[in-house]
Symmetry: C2
Subunit: 188 residues, 2 copies
């Protein structure tokens, strides 16, 4: 499964707020469609990797009749913005005080490290109730390297992360925050 099961519940709870009932994944997809249609960026969700072990051809259509889910070794989204390579994941928590690190698998951390080493931009978009934060991979790795804790305090995410204020068209305009962090010069 790609997302924690609490997203659906958050989805129902959010209906009165600015996110207008959209789940985090739907918001990111909406933003990506907006960026694509407006030639701002090319960002997409990676397909779920499946090992195909049987294929049949009913009515001349190629159909997978046996496929095993592979362990996801990377993050969910990849893309290109102003020449930069973006690689990120979306995470949701209903916990008001801390974000459990069990949400992030070891090979995902390894992937974030590799993206940064190769000069790409890697981050998490973390939803904490009705607030959304862009949390840089560098800050995530540095927290893990210097702490024994099994969760990140939400206050740390608020302090180190960058809040993504909801707007409209797109609702979750996370590239605005990417501009603030990585393309400051261009904003002047």
């Amino acid at each position: 499964m790609l997302y924690p099961s609490n997203i659906k519940k958050t989805y129902c709870k959010n209906t009165d707020h600015a996110s207008r009932g959209m789940g985090l994944e739907a918001m990111i997809n909406e933003a990506n469609t907006y960026y694509l249609n407006n030639n701002k960026a090319l960002i997409y969700k990676k397909p779920t990797p499946i090992t195909i072990s049987n294929v049949e051809y009913p009515n001349n259509k190629k159909v997978v009749t046996k496929g095993l889910f592979q362990t996801k070794s990377t993050l969910d989204y990849v893309g290109l913005y102003k020449g930069a390579y973006l690689d990120f994941d979306a995470k949701s928590t209903k916990n008001k005080t801390s974000f459990p690190l069990a949400n992030i698998q070891n090979h995902q951390l390894q992937h974030i490290k590799r993206v940064i080493e190769n000069k790409g931009i890697s981050f998490l978009i973390i939803q904490v109730l009705d607030n959304y934060f862009l949390f840089r991979g560098e800050d995530l790795l540095s927290f893990i390297a210097t702490n024994e804790r099994k969760s990140i305090p939400i206050n740390y995410i608020k302090e180190k992360g960058f809040e993504i204020k909801l707007s409209y068209n797109p609702v979750l305009n996370y590239l605005k925050v990417i501009d603030q962090i990585y393309f400051k010069e261009e904003l002047k």
Copy 2:
């Protein structure tokens, strides 16, 4: 199917040559593994997008029992090298004089255009018998824009493209050519 059916045949024919019997896809995978293990780049094959319409749980394992292949709308490989976003495809032809444009779908051309517009690097690795060329997306689009032809003459690919000479470890070291084209300054 991701590759033209002639790859298998080429695979068998190549056994006496420098490629040591590897098909084009295997060569690219080998190079990508080498780059990953040596922290040179992070490049991977995109999973085949499959629409999952049925899932079962025999022995508590999640198994796809019905999945439809989606039309591939992008290229096969994506990655990150020295901060640059790479997006490319591998194509093979046994035709000695021309490369049929039918090998490239319209939405793939659209994708190449978008990558370039967003300042990424897009290209094809074209195998013509025992020769390998990196052919830039810009040159592909410009050929199509200025020609009515349904195929690209191999001589045009040789003239505009950059030959990837086979070596070893990795056999198809295509990033060497990327360096020559896009990172000239660093080579000095």
